[in-house]
């Protein structure tokens, strides 16, 4: 069913949950509350997302293996760094299915996602351009002509504005069809006409190391892994992991692991009932045994004491 809508989030957990088809894991690097707005457009065979964030952060996006995904920064105060390289204005990412992508947003930003049923995308390309459009095995950065890229951005922005102002119009099947046709035309033009810059092999290897690093973190989020063990699990040398992290996420591996664990504690505190659990118990669950050091690290990262988080009104999703 076509449709659309927009929602403002004051909590990053709910924002993350709003992505649905793409999974996103943010590690918020700024101290203040993370305010964001997610606008979504659901068409017959595609979905659009527009993500507005009011402060900088580091994040890891896991894209759906079943969808063809294109993403691009729409507006940024400072140039974002995705998958280890700084983006230029007008760059469009054409992702491989299920790709994992590290993003560094240095400041407030708006970025966009287009997710299409790959069979429909291929069918459209065959009908209109007489050539197949296979999904790339490796994510690619497209440098489309200024005109093509601008048209794609404009259509995306128009559809999202409609979702914000008149979501009911968007749920009309013929309106969704009209928008989808224009959008697919602009998208396939970009994808087939753009110059692609394939990543150098070294960069691809490093991207694969970072994906493995995320897998290890997901499995071992409950306790602090010493660097030696982390490297062993990822299967690389200490120096390699450090330089990869500096390039892709801008912080050291152990700092990133600490931030991820703190975020898990925060999520647990936000969902826990203040009458039945205490801060120390939750902190211990994520391997924080020294209460004093934990409280200091928590305060420095989120700008409030863990007990303040626990006593906040509970989230309803």
């Amino acid at each position: 069913m076509p449709g659309g809508g927009t929602r403002v989030f004051l909590d990053s957990d709910l924002y993350e949950a709003g992505f649905r088809q793409a999974q996103i894991q943010f590690v918020i690097a700024c101290v203040a509350d993370f305010k964001s707005r997610l606008t979504w457009v659901e068409l017959h065979h595609s979905q659009l997302l527009q993500c507005e964030e009011d402060c900088g952060r580091i994040g890891y996006v896991s894209l759906s293996p079943r969808l063809a995904t294109v993403s691009f920064p729409t507006h940024a105060d400072a140039l974002p760094r995705w998958r280890g390289s700084e983006l230029n204005a007008g760059d469009i990412f054409f992702h491989s299915p299920g790709e994992g992508l590290h993003q560094i947003m240095p400041g407030a930003s708006i970025w966009s996602l287009i997710m299409v049923d790959p069979a429909k995308l291929d069918e459209y390309s065959r009908a209109v351009f007489r050539k197949p459009l296979p999904l790339p095995l490796q994510g690619r950065v497209l440098r489309a002509s200024h005109r093509d890229a601008a048209r794609l951005r404009r259509l995306h922005a128009q559809a999202c504005r409609l979702a914000e102002t008149k979501p009911r119009v968007l749920s009309h099947p013929q309106v969704a069809r009209a928008i989808e046709h224009d959008l697919l035309y602009a998208l396939v033009t970009c994808l087939s006409a753009a110059k692609t810059s394939t990543q150098p092999a070294a960069n691809r290897r490093r991207a694969a190391i970072m994906v493995r690093f995320e897998e290890v973190l997901a499995e071992h989020i409950g306790w602090p892994l010493p660097m030696s063990q982390l490297c062993e699990l990822v299967g690389v040398k200490d120096r390699t992991l450090r330089s990869c992290c500096a390039e892709f996420i801008g912080v050291s591996p152990s700092r990133y692991l600490l931030l991820r664990r703190l975020k898990e504690v925060r999520r647990a505190l936000r969902n826990a009932d203040a009458h039945t659990v205490d801060v120390a118990g939750i902190a211990r669950r994520y391997g924080f045994t020294d209460r004093g050091r934990f409280a200091a690290a928590y305060q420095a990262t989120f700008g409030e004491a863990p007990s303040a988080t626990l006593s906040r009104p509970k989230l309803t999703s």
């Binding site: 007489r130 128009q158 119009v169 009309h172 013929q174 309106v175």
Partner: protein, 219 residues
């Protein structure tokens, strides 16, 4: 116009071979002498039809004119050289034929570029060339005008009490209602709400119907 059989029969009798109707319309350049004979006969018949239709009604006169016209036509077709329009032109004509079939099969619904490409089995590039050649505009522009025309027809047909301009516009895929109204006004000389309020019997503005008819022909 002659039926195929008549043309074939006249051809065999007059020049000793059949005149076969081409699958694709051809342009033929006959010698000036033959052409002027055909034209003057055609003109004479038309003149007669206008001034003295009774005479044409007489079987023997009709047959005589028929005979003379068929002779002149077959002579033109047999001795004239087909103007070589080129393979591209014939290919484009076939594409346009398939497009016409598709449009005829979908008299009501909005269509888009991909629908036309799929139906005609050509890329958007070829489609653009064909439409420029035969319609004098891009397919995108044509499809937009066609949707406008469909909306115009619906606005005329529907009653202001039972539907709204927004509903009809969105039925044809127009979602920026401000822009829709501007384009509509420039095409039909009135606002969509005026068309909707008027009863279907009221023909409204002459130029509006004319634009409508122009697109009805092709759609």
């Amino acid at each position: 116009m002659l039926t195929h059989q008549d043309a074939a029969a006249a051809g065999e009798a007059l020049i000793g071979r059949e005149v076969v109707a081409p699958l694709v319309t051809q342009r033929i350049k006959p010698s000036p002498r033959l052409l002027s004979r055909l034209l003057s006969l055609h003109e004479a018949a038309a003149h007669l039809a206008k001034t003295a239709p009774d005479i044409l009604g007489k079987p023997e006169v009709g047959r005589a004119i028929d005979q003379a016209l068929a002779e002149a036509m077959v002579a033109c077709l047999a001795n004239g050289h087909p103007v070589n329009e080129g393979r591209a032109y014939r290919h484009h004509a076939r594409v346009m034929q398939r497009l016409e079939d598709t449009l005829r099969a979908n008299p009501e619904g909005p269509l888009y570029m991909a629908d036309l490409c799929k139906a005609a089995g050509v890329s958007h590039r070829t489609l653009i060339e064909c439409c420029q050649e035969h319609l004098g505009m891009s397919p995108k522009r044509y499809l937009l005008l066609r949707r406008m025309h469909l909306a115009w027809r619906a606005l005329r047909r529907e009653d202001a009490g039972s539907t709204t301009v927004t509903e009809i516009a969105t039925n044809y895929g127009f979602w920026e209602l401000g822009r829709f109204s501007v384009v509509y006004h420039s095409m039909f000389g009135e606002s969509p709400s005026t068309t909707l309020r008027r009863s279907p019997e009221d023909p409204g503005l002459g130029e509006a119907s004319e634009v409508g008819l122009k697109f009805a022909e092709f759609a």
